[in-house]
Symmetry: C2
């Protein structure tokens, strides 16, 4: 078990070692460790070695000049200059919030970025200013739209954070697929099959093969099949891709580069620059007095949380499980899987940073 | 078979008969018939008698004073004054587009409205100005969120319309449920069961009973069950509800009034005013030169349409089926089911309007 502060400090040292500024290494490590704290282990420190691989492959600029390249009072395109998405996304969110401060809302589409960690982190930045936050990002193609045999979309998540008064904020943060790809990796390690409705095989048939996506198959959109609305999950993933990729001039659809792989799909090989994100901020008091709105959000949250539920379950408010996990892990610490500890030990050795190899 | 113009004229006469102005009767009939033209029969002329029932029940103001009650340069709340949603929503969209014209984007949350027809119509208004259009609306509770036994959300649709250059626009328009409620009504008429994953029974169990929603059960969110991501469909429906209802001061969650029923849930019984919508417009050239963006949209659309597909199928671009249906029905006419013809005949008799009772 590791304390979050210990791991955050380690991440910071690694980002400093590849040339990030002190300020950006601190920001990137805060974003990355927040995933581990919130229980989204697949998007936290487990990916640190991947970000370094991105650097090794020449796809990551550790000292990016993140700037607005096009704008109106409420909209902008930000060029991430091949920086860490972990840094580019919060900077773009700051720009969205400055615009919202002035004209009620701000919407920033980002090009030339990389993987930005968990979507929810960036959306939640808006909460401290009584704003609603939006985050989207596109990602490398793993998903076969309804009837497609080709993988054309990433898991393309959407996050929306909404402030309340006494209740904790509503924070929805979800991929536009039936499940996250990480669920397959867990099953692969255990040699277990996947439920039907998660993936299709190379011929478009339903499959329980947890290796299907690696063998020419694809992840299924939310809805799983046409009869259960997979065209809606496909539509949602498409919207996320268009707002993140097409609106910014980043890559989109089948051209979005993979997380950290070498060689494949340089900026010149694609249809735009790097990975794309979309961030938005709306002042609650651009619509109603903020306290009125937040009291009604309390009422909304309580009506849902208080609903009758199936035996042994309760109706969950989006964001509750992650917040509860953060409360626990902030105190009890974060446990890491052996391969993750190993990857961190290798980084420690390479960059000559202290790291205590500890598995409980 | 009826020509669209004939039916549109009939709708217009009915709205005039209940006291709408000439301008608003024309607008409302255009919106309503567009649903029939686009093949969304459940939201078209079949509902005309329902709108009249809404009027009979004192819930509809035929001469509303639709106005902005709160605003910033890019945001507003519009009060629909209990008007037809068919009229209130396009007026709110005009306000969103005026704001987008000035500051890049415009976002309008609407309270005190009623059912607004098909979401896609309002989003598509933005296309003519090279803008991206957004529409959401909440609706009466039919949906049981993940693990809930209570119906807390409506089918809460989302529509996003995006212009392209040579290709027809991308128009995603979908409910946040596994299926529309209309699919159950079709099965009920035929006495057929429903596929598992569409509804749950009164104890929260999966069911094939096509009458489940009437017998204490509920429609399932997109994703159907927890294992296939129903919490994401629930999250999406919740976002639509919060943006439409809480942000505007309309009713939300379990308090949203039914389409046209008498007595139930007057404004005083709820937590806000009427039904809520959310409309947005974003200038494409608030992000990139419009032609660049639209050429990239062509590239996006062609990549998806041209993908390999399962045998006998193709990858469908959101909006294509509705556009193709409109092309056919604009020429060949619209066929109506006997109960719909009967409801129109009754309206014709009541208001002394000519209507040719014709079933082929």
């Amino acid at each position: 078990m590791y304390q979050a502060e210990y791991l955050k400090h380690f991440i910071e040292e690694v980002f400093l070692a590849i040339g990030c500024s002190a300020e950006e290494a601190a920001l990137a490590s805060t974003v990355l460790i927040s995933a581990d704290l919130r229980g989204v282990d697949s998007h936290g420190i487990a990916r640190l070695a991947g970000y370094v691989r991105l650097y090794d492959n020449g796809r990551l600029n550790p000292t990016p000049d993140v700037k607005v390249v096009y704008e109106t009072p409420s909209t902008a395109v930000v060029d991430g200059d091949r920086g860490l998405g972990l840094v580019v996304a919060p900077k773009a969110m700051e720009i969205a919030m400055e615009k919202a401060e002035k004209v009620g809302s701000g919407w920033v589409s980002v090009r030339n970025s990389n993987h930005f960690g968990i979507a929810g982190y960036h959306a939640m930045l808006a909460l401290q200013k009584d704003m609603i936050g939006w985050t989207m990002t596109n990602a490398a193609p793993l998903v076969t739209p309804t009837f497609s045999l080709d993988k054309l979309l990433g898991t393309n998540p959407l996050a929306v954070a909404v402030p309340a008064f006494e209740e904790p904020a509503f924070v929805a943060d979800f991929a536009s697929t039936a499940v996250a790809y990480g669920k397959f990796e867990i099953l692969q390690r255990k040699g277990l099959p996947a439920p039907l409705g998660w993936a299709q095989d190379s011929e478009g048939n339903p499959t329980t093969d947890s290796n299907a996506v690696k063998s020419g198959g694809g992840l299924l959109p939310l809805g799983s099949d046409r009869e259960h609305g997979s065209h809606k999950g496909y539509g949602l993933g498409a919207i996320v891709d268009i707002f993140s990729g097409v609106l910014s001039g980043a890559n989109f659809g089948p051209w979005v580069p993979p997380f950290a792989t070498a060689g494949f799909m340089s900026a010149n090989e694609g249809v735009g620059l790097g990975t794309g994100h979309f961030l938005g901020a709306m002042r609650v008091d651009g619509f109603r007095p903020a306290d009125e709105f937040k009291h009604d959000m309390d009422k909304w949250i309580r009506a849902f949380r208080g609903a009758r539920a199936v035996e042994g379950k309760s109706v969950i408010i989006p964001g509750d499980p992650e917040r509860e996990m953060e409360a626990i892990r902030s105190v009890e610490g974060i446990s890491l899987l052996p391969p993750v500890v190993e990857s961190l030990s290798e980084l420690a050795k390479r960059f000559n940073i202290a790291f205590e190899n500890r598995i409980d």
